[in-house]
Amino acid sequence: MTRAPVVRGLGVISGWGRGTAALPEDARAAAAGRPVLSLGRLARDGDAWRRTTREGLIAVAAVEAALDDAGAGPGAIAGARTALVYVTAAAYGASNRRFIEGRGGSIHFAETAPAIVPAEVAIALGVCGPYAILLGGPPTTLRAIHHAAVLLESGACDRALVLAVEIFEECADLYARAGRLTAHPLVEAAACLWLEPGRGTLHLEPGPPRRPNAALRKRLGETFSVEPLAALDFWRQSPTRGTLELAARWRGQSTRLLWTGAMMPLAEAV
């Protein structure tokens, strides 16, 4: 049992738009046959962003969405007291493919690709505290939240960002060739969860035998590691929310996170 953090902010962006309010009722119908819903290259002013990868721009936008949600500016997360825990199942594929096909720069290859997105976020926003890069699907996102909670509980940081990013466009043909396309479209998405110390409890345990979140996936589509954070966004909007239970299953891994006090700041808890 770990002392649970409190949610200070949460930003979700996807191929459907900003926030979970933008999701259609049925992703498959709304995709109208498109196997991938791309976010494209998000436009930003300034020469500093010219060399930032497409996935890096999406990641920064997700962090900014979390800042907006919390009513804070970038200065609130800059510095060494902010941890960044990054998770992805697929976002490094684009960099690898660009390198293999000679279409990208020389610094994106197998050993650098998973580190590019969190590095771009860290550099853009000056986040230089505890740092972890986790590769995997939805269960890994739950472990990322748990890792962030442990960092907060240990006093290693004052706030932690759990950032999940997935892009698919560059490797869409590979997903099709590998038979990875499902009934739901692959939807590019990113989410950032801003956590601070709280007074609830957090418990990570083996999850359900069946893949959870079917209703959410029907609306969202396949977003791999982003899915649990979208589920959290739906939960916090529910007027009848109780203990938060996030469940995830992915390629044989099954994990569940039970979380009390997710929305209860320290001041309200005492």
């Binding site: 690898n96 197998a110 505890p130």
Partner: protein, 218 residues
């Protein structure tokens, strides 16, 4: 919990490191004035970790502390000031509940690249303070190559075996120490010593820094 890492060599990986101009045609020479880059190795290394209360029976050692930090400086190069690495090392010491005076030995990341080694040496001098000239430091990458995902685990195990065997392996090919990398380098031959508390540093692309503090078990 089983924890560890592995990496395999293939043309894709070799081309990537070559594109960064990180590979040498010479030997790997960490902290040497002639150092010109790294060579890759292939390895897998795993450890079985148990909580103290469950850890009955023999053990190789104890993980006392861990720290990590981002540079937030560059996609592929380390921060020239090494601030991220310093934060990671200090966090690991804090987590271990010890000060730098307790460190008996440092297993350095020590890649042998022109950029890494002086930055790392400067960080170790800052952290170790007045004891820096007397704390033995090595890098086993000249012996094994840079085994990437496995490197940190192998180096942690080396720290624990150094205590158990009473020998610190030398940094091979460190013949002409670079004054910019001045530390108490173990070179030439293994040094007879029994370092109970070790500090092990690791750096990764994207400004990823990590440090472990380990205690050997007799």
């Amino acid at each position: 919990m089983v924890a560890g890492g592995y990496d395999v060599l293939c043309r894709f990986v070799m081309r990537g490191f070559d594109a960064l101009k990180a590979l040498t045609r010479d030997d790997i020479r960490p902290f040497d004035r002639r150092r010109s880059g790294l060579l890759l190795g292939e390895a897998a290394a795993l450890v079985l970790l148990r909580r103290e209360r469950d850890a009955a029976g023999p053990r190789l050692g104890t993980l006392l502390g861990y720290g990590s930090a981002s540079d937030a400086a560059h996609i592929s190069a380390p921060d020239p000031e090494g601030q991220g690495l310093e934060r990671a090392v200090r966090a690991a010491l804090r987590a271990a509940g010890i000060g730098p005076d307790a460190v008996d030995f440092v297993s350095a990341h020590g890649t042998g690249t022109p950029l890494n080694d002086p930055i790392e040496a400067a960080v170790l001098r800052r952290v170790l303070g007045p004891r820096a000239p007397t704390v033995p430091v090595n890098s086993i990458k000249p012996s094994l190559g840079h085994t990437m995902g496995a490197a940190a685990v192998l180096e942690a195990l080396m720290c624990l075996y150094a205590f158990r065997r009473g020998l610190i392996p030398p940094t091979l090919h460190l013949d002409e120490p670079d004054p910019a990398c001045a530390l108490d380098h173990v070179r030439g031959a293994a040094r007879a010593a029994r370092p109970r508390i070790s500090l092990s540093t690791s750096l990764g692309f994207g400004g990823c820094n990590a440090a472990l503090v380990l205690e050997g078990a007799p």
